[in-house]
Amino acid sequence: MITDWAPDDLATEVWAADAAARAARAVSGVVRLQPGVWGLIRHLAARAFEQATGQALPDIAGVNVDLVDGGVMVEVQLVVDGGYQAAAVGAAVCAAVCAAVPIAVGHPVTDVWVHIAEIDLTLD
């Protein structure tokens, strides 16, 4: 969740969330990221912003990021393909996020939380 209005921190949080989202989506077994209500509102607002301004914001719905004491706390909420083991997909997402975010923003990931909101059984 973007909590501060300092421009540098805001940009860092967006780029960290973007890196985490890309890393999570690239993991086998991840069907999609799943935003909650607040994430959806933010996503819809971003779409409206894009349509109004022509400038793209990264698709970070389903990812919340907080900068805390120079580190990054990442929360990813997603849907897993029922053909994969949920725990293994979650662990792979954790590893991918921890690897991708420091490269993108230069801050270490101090905590990562992967919440599996749904198993997609229609893909079986």
Partner: protein, 202 residues
């Protein structure tokens, strides 16, 4: 569902509702909210109350979006319902094994997987499912499930097979271990009866 500035565009059809853990659906909560009333159940139920609060947020956000000169995205209603359900699911998450960080899965998602496993057994239909974490053994769960059986399907054998499938699904699909599984047979149906096997069929 009538269209007005507080009503998201509807694309869902009958039978495609988004169920809550209490047995109600997000659509029912929405309809009650639009009608300006709430049942005695909805007034006390944490699932319905949380869904209602989320829907009120979404109604306001949707109204603001409608006021903007942009087109609402396609599938908006499903996105809203999925977001509400995702928020609800965060409250009943079950921890999964993790070497680093925290990984958990919503109990409703887990229950859907287990019901799916039981439904794969001929003559057995899963209904309600409760999952409780074993407090003494990490990543081990106790499951209670109500089922209906087809009369003459070899009930004991079918339930044994269902039990094996639940244990296998927990291990292979989720990464958890089954401690106990209690089946409660709540219904029996006769083969070849019209609508056999459907929920609530006597």
């Amino acid at each position: 569902m009538a269209m007005n500035p507080n009503t998201p565009p509807t694309t869902h059809q009958a039978g495609a509702e988004h169920p809550l853990a209490c047995g109600c659906s997000v659509e029912q909560v929405w309809d009650d909210m639009q009608a300006g009333h709430a049942s005695a159940h909805a007034a006390d139920c944490p699932h319905c109350l949380t869904a209602r609060a989320s829907l009120e947020q979404m109604a306001e956000a949707t109204r603001l979006l409608i006021d903007e000169p942009v087109n609402p995205p396609s599938g908006l209603l499903d996105q809203i319902m999925n977001a509400v359900r995702a928020d609800l699911a965060r409250g009943d998450a079950i921890a999964l094994p993790a070497l680093s960080g925290t990984i958990d899965i919503s109990a409703s998602a887990l229950a859907a997987v287990l019901r799916f496993a039981v439904d794969g057994v001929d003559g057995v239909r899963a209904h309600r499912c409760r999952i409780v974490v074993d407090p003494t053994v990490a990543h081990t769960v106790r499951v209670w499930m109500s089922v209906s059986l087809r009369y003459g399907s070899g009930e004991v054998t079918a339930l044994d097979q269902a039990r094996q499938r639940v244990g296998a699904a927990l291990s292979a699909r989720i990464g958890l271990v089954l401690d106990t599984l209690d089946f409660e047979v709540t219904d029996v149906w006769i083969a070849d009866a019209p609508g056999a096997g459907s929920e609530g069929q006597p």
